[in-house]
Amino acid sequence: MDGTILLFLLQDGITNGAIYALLGIALVLVFAVTRVIFIPQGELVAFGALTYALLEAGKVPGTVWLLAGFGLLAFVFDVVAAARERALARRLAKAVLIDLAIPGALVAATLAVAGRELGSGAHFALTLALITPLGPLLYRVAFQPIAGASILTLMITAVGVHLALVGLGLVFFGAEGLRAPAVSDLMVTIGPMLVTGQSLAVYAVATVAIVALWLFFDRALWGKALRATAVNRLGARLVGIRTGFAGSLAFALAALVAALSGVLIAPMTTIYYDTGFLIGLKGFVAAIIAGLASYPLTALAALGVGIVEALASFFASDMKEIIVFMLIIPVLLWRSLKHTHVEEED
């Protein structure tokens, strides 16, 4: 193997790693705030990619019906919960706005503009707008009713949501794979390397997204509130932070990040309704390596995962997935040994 191939593999690894980093950071965020191990994030990535590809192809993506359906379901949940707590009058208007009006407006907008060749920028924005609300709606329907349950119960629920979303992906997007056209045909030569415009876009978007998240957590009151919820749920409630809303916000950010990642990979590979799972899992491996706790470590680990994957696909393409997933076992073991006796600390 010569240097060029190695450089090529590294570049490939870093491009994928940047996407895994985004996903991993979102997973850490969701886990910290809600204790949910958000396995179905991968599905949202695939939905993002497919939505973008369909919009680019001038079609109405099935996402709109998915969004409308989840909105309706969340509305039912909200109304029932409010009625039970005898607070229907107080909460109805909000439920109508969040569960019906916003998804409804997005569906209408998509139906109106689909096929009008608005350009990639508009499709990109529309994709983000369609996928992001799915996060809080999923949280409302699947996780919020059992927000106090054990991590394990939440995790099995997450697996249930994953199963359901893969199936729904097949229903709403079909079994056929899609690939979006590249953002640009740009090719840049940096030394011996040939870097595609798409890769540059990935680096740029990932960097901007990570910096934006960092600013949000460090400066904004709501960012601090999310961190506070992650550090100490009871403490957060005692200062008046609604942890349910914090959960919704975390899921919204995770869905936004998933949509972003989806749009970025859509031109790089053919995406099927069930492709997301494996992509999400790799972000997940990175998040676990970082103990589901540290954002910078997650980003670093994600780049590592991307590079290992790229090298493995060259040297042992058959064993690529096996190598990536077995990476996690020693890490889990190490984390567990560090974690002994958390049972009784009082």
Binding site: I37, V141, A142, P145, I146, A149, I151, L152, T153, M155, I156, T157, V159, G160, V161, H162, L163, A164, L165, V166, G167, L168, L170, V171, L281, V285, I288, D318, M319, E321, I322, F325, M326, I328, I329, L332, L333, R335, S336, L337, H339, T340, H341, V342, E343, E344, D346
Partner: protein, 589 residues
Amino acid sequence: MNPRRAFLLLVVVLVLVPLVPGVPIFWITLLGNVGLAALVAMGLVLLTGVGGMTSFGQAAFCGFGAYATAVLTTAWGWSPWAALPVSLAVSGGAAVVLGLITVRLSGHFLPLGTMAWGLSLYYLFGKLDLLGRHDGLSGIPPLEIAGHALTDPRAVHYVIWIAVIAAGVLTTHLLDSRIGRAIRALRKGQIAAEAFGIDAARTKLIVFVWAALLAGLSGWLYAHVQRTVTPAPFGLNAGIEYLFMAVVGGSGQIWGAIVGAGLVTLMKEALQRIVPALFGNAMQLEGVVFGIVLVALLQVAREGLWPHLARFVPGRPRTAPAEAAPLARRMLGAGDTSRPLLVLEAARKQFGGLIAVNDVSFKVGRGEIVALIGPNGAGKSTTFNLITGVASLTSGTVKFDGAVISGTSPQVIAGRGVARTFQHVKLEPEMTVLENVAMGAHLRGRSGVLASMLRLDRRDEGRILKEAATQIERVGLTEHMTKPAGSLALGQQRVVEIARALAMDPELLLLDEPAAGLRHFEKEALADLLKRLRAEGMSVLLVEHDMGFVMGITDHIVVLDFGTKIAEGPPETIKTHPAVLEAYLGGAA
């Protein structure tokens, strides 16, 4: 209907179904599939519901069983029966290797680990030439009995269900035994289990391997029923499906596994028929329905269906035999009586910068009641944890009967005769008081896994239960013997913990706030009991806030404040000790 009748009814129905004329073959095949799934789900119930280890990778063990026999019977020409032990050995061996790692994973890391190896093994099955890569292996011979090939689903039905029933009976026996109690103690954390000498990692491994053997058996049967093996049924989705069955059935109930497997298999079948009729094409909607049902189930009925069914077959709680040979007892005071039983020498525990226990030294003599007192947060519970090996010392030593015990494990310390209770009660609330107390006598029994499964442990088990009943009587809770421990008042639960500690036949009893939550007369009864124990030669170290209680029974008091020993001596001296008064009453006095 009692459980025995319900069980017989199940067997009769299973025997008769294939014999009823006109029952379509298709139904029989379906019932066989239910049995194959039930085998795996049963192991998973034990692993997840009882043992507290959630596995998403269980399908991989079916894969080991299935591929092992497929290779041996197709490439090597072995007979299926000869391949059975190898199939089981391969799944069991794989379980030992994976289990050694997996049981050491804590909390949610464990299911994530099973997901990782489950997924990796699935890919591995599809990449190995030996296993036919993605196409798998075909041409596997059917099972044969006395020269007759079992190709008729009716015949296969009997083989499958004999395996299921046998597995269910063995597993039920296992749970209703000394080892079973150890397994059930694991779910709520290991500290209590280890305090009674249960080797948590080993017990978990036993469960893990048994669950894998059941899955391997299912895989072996599957290979010879389907006659072809591909990677798909051994992937992560299949693993999730099996877990789903266990949850649907009720994830603590062995027989619930059959209910779960039945419902899920039938639901899958129904969906495969209904969906094309509704949508015009064969879309795989099982995932959607399974996912939604799983999420809904966790929201409305986290216990699964079995508890609702079990109301119709109420079981009788186990009771102790009227007569049983007493267990061997430890000779109290058999050691060198000239030296104290327990000695702490400059024991120190540091958590980061915080010094929880600061070079504390004290002794507990034989046949003495010593109290450890101090304000909240003074380091009393941490000191208990240092003595019992739950926490490790930063420096210093703890000696018991002359030997250094610091640095050893809680099981070893328990084995030497140190029993304890907990400040936050650690009983199994669903188990009866009798079973909880019997857990204390774990180290005094001998029967292992095989003996338990085959019911060769009944004599041993009877002696343990008899001992537990004796201790319950001793602490005055006989009338509560067969109630679930969780139904007792908190103060009584503390007394159950004392009975459990006594069942260990200890030489030293460590009691963490034994009188908290007790009414006045209950406290008096407890004080009498402790005095009796002392008269019998037992030594007691207790942490307690009720000063009246402490002053009335102790020989010696050690006072801690901010992790440091500020005074020690007989009760009369402590009452008037200026440093003690200062610590308790504070500057605001």
